[in-house]
Symmetry: C2
Subunit: 251 residues, 2 copies
Amino acid sequence: MSAIVSDALGETAPDSFGEGADAERAPTRSLSVADRIRASILSGDFEPGARLHEVRLSERLGVSRTPVRSALQSLASEGLLEYAPNRGYSVRRFLTSEIVDAYEIRTMLESLATRLAAERGLTDAERAVIEGALADGDAILAKEELEESDRIGYGAVNFAFHDTIHAASRCRMLGDMIRMCQSVPQSSHRNVVSFEYLEVRRRHEDHHRIYDAILLRDAYRAEMLMREHVASVKTGLVRSISGRAPTRSRR
Amino acid sequence: MSAIVSDALGETAPDSFGEGADAERAPTRSLSVADRIRASILSGDFEPGARLHEVRLSERLGVSRTPVRSALQSLASEGLLEYAPNRGYSVRRFLTSEIVDAYEIRTMLESLATRLAAERGLTDAERAVIEGALADGDAILAKEELEESDRIGYGAVNFAFHDTIHAASRCRMLGDMIRMCQSVPQSSHRNVVSFEYLEVRRRHEDHHRIYDAILLRDAYRAEMLMREHVASVKTGLVRSISGRAPTRSRR
DNA sequence: TGAGCAAAAATTGTATACATTAATTATTGA
DNA sequence: TCAATAATTAATGTATACAATTTTTGCTCA
C-alpha cells in the first residue's frame, strides 16, 4: 500500500480493549474509553442488544464510572448504542430495513459531498492521497483475480478514496452524518460487500471517473457518478440479503 | 390553528430556564437540564462563542455539575455547542457558509424523506395532521396579505407539514439528521425566512403539490418537488444575506 | 404449580470532594 | 516599561459516596 494512503488512514489497530498507544494519546480518559469501547463493539465483542453495564466496563477498563458514562453517551449519540433512562445503554440492533435505509441516506450525502468537493477543489495533499489510492487499487486489480487477503487492502483503498472526498467537501456536518451512516453494520467503507473481481473492478473504475470529474470541476457529473456508485453497492447488498425483500421497520 | 396541528407540535414554550411543566416531565435531571439549556440557547440568551461554565449553570439551574455536564455533552452532539477537551463547552459559531451548507444537506435529506414517505404511505393520523396544516395555511393566506403576527402561525403550519413527512419516512436516522440541520441558525422550519405574501403562497402551493404526490404514491415527483421546495428557500436565504457571496470556510 | 406481591439486590442517576489542566495575576529581571 | 516566568486562581476531569429506580429473588396464597 502506498505510504500516503496508509498515513491518511490513521490505521487504528483493532486493539479490543488493549489500550493502544492511540487511545492513550487521547486528551481525556472519557475520550480514550470511548475509543476503546467503540473498537470493541465494532469488532463484535458484544451481541446486538447486549447491555453495557457501567460498573463492569469501569472495572474492565480500570477507570471510574464517570468517564465510562461519558463515553457511553458519546457512543449513543453516534448511533452505536441505544439508551433508555434508568435502564442504561445497550448495543443497538439494526433491522435490515435500517441498514438499507442507511445506504439510501449515504447515497444522498456522499453524492452531495462529491459535488461540493468538485465545486471547491482539492488540496495538493488530497490529490496525492486519492492518486495513491487509485494506484494501489490498480495494482491489486492488475492480477486479474482477487484473493481473500485482498479484502483488507482494497478496503483501505476504498476508505482512503471516500474519506478524502468527505474531507474535501469542507463541510464538517456532512462528514459527521456520513460517519453516522457508517456505524451501521456492513456499511463501513472498509467492508467491501461484494468482492467478486468484476464487481470490484467496476467500482474501481467508478473511482477513476469520479476523480476525473472532480479534477475537471464537473460538479454535476461527479455528483451523479457518486450517486450511482453508492446506489449500486446498496443494490448489491440488498441482493445478497438472500432473495426475500428487505423487512420494513415495524411500528 | 387546527387542534390537530397544535397537538402535533408539542408546543414547547420558550420558557428560557423557567422549568416548564415540559422539562419537569423529563425522566432524569440530565434530560430536563438539556431541554432547558437548549431552549435558552435557541432563544438567544447566549452570544455565539460564549463559554458555558458548568458551575454557573449548575447554580442557576439548582442542580449539581453532573447532570449539567451530561446535558452539555448532549447539546454538543446535537451540533449546538462546541467542545474542547479541558476547556469546556461554548455556543457554536456558524460561518455563513455553514448555514448555506446546512440547507444543501437538508435539501437532500428532506427530499429523500419525502420519497420514502411516498413509497411507504401515510397513516390516518399523519394524513389528518397534514390536511389540518394545509387548511390552516389556506386560511392564513386567504386574507391576500400577511401581517407580522402571522409569522408564528404560519411557522407552526410549516413545521407541522415538514415534521409529519419526516415521521412518515419511518427512518429515525433521517429524522435525527434533519434535526441536526435545524439546530443551525435560521434553518428551523418555524423560522420562515422570507415572509412576503407571494413567496409564502408559492411555498404553500408547493406543500399542496407535495402532499398530492405523496397521496398518489408518486415517489419520484414527491422527491423532486421537495428538493426544489427546500432549494428555493436556500436561494432566498442566500439572496437575503445581502449582495455579497456567501463566505467560504477557511482552510 | 403458578400468579401476585414483597423484600432484596443490582443498576443507574446525582451530588460532592479531589485531581488535573488551563487561565489569570503577580513578580522579577532587564 | 515590557517580557518572561512563577504563583495563584479558576475551570474542567475523575473518583467516590449516596439516592432513586429497576430488576431479581423468594415468599405467600390461591
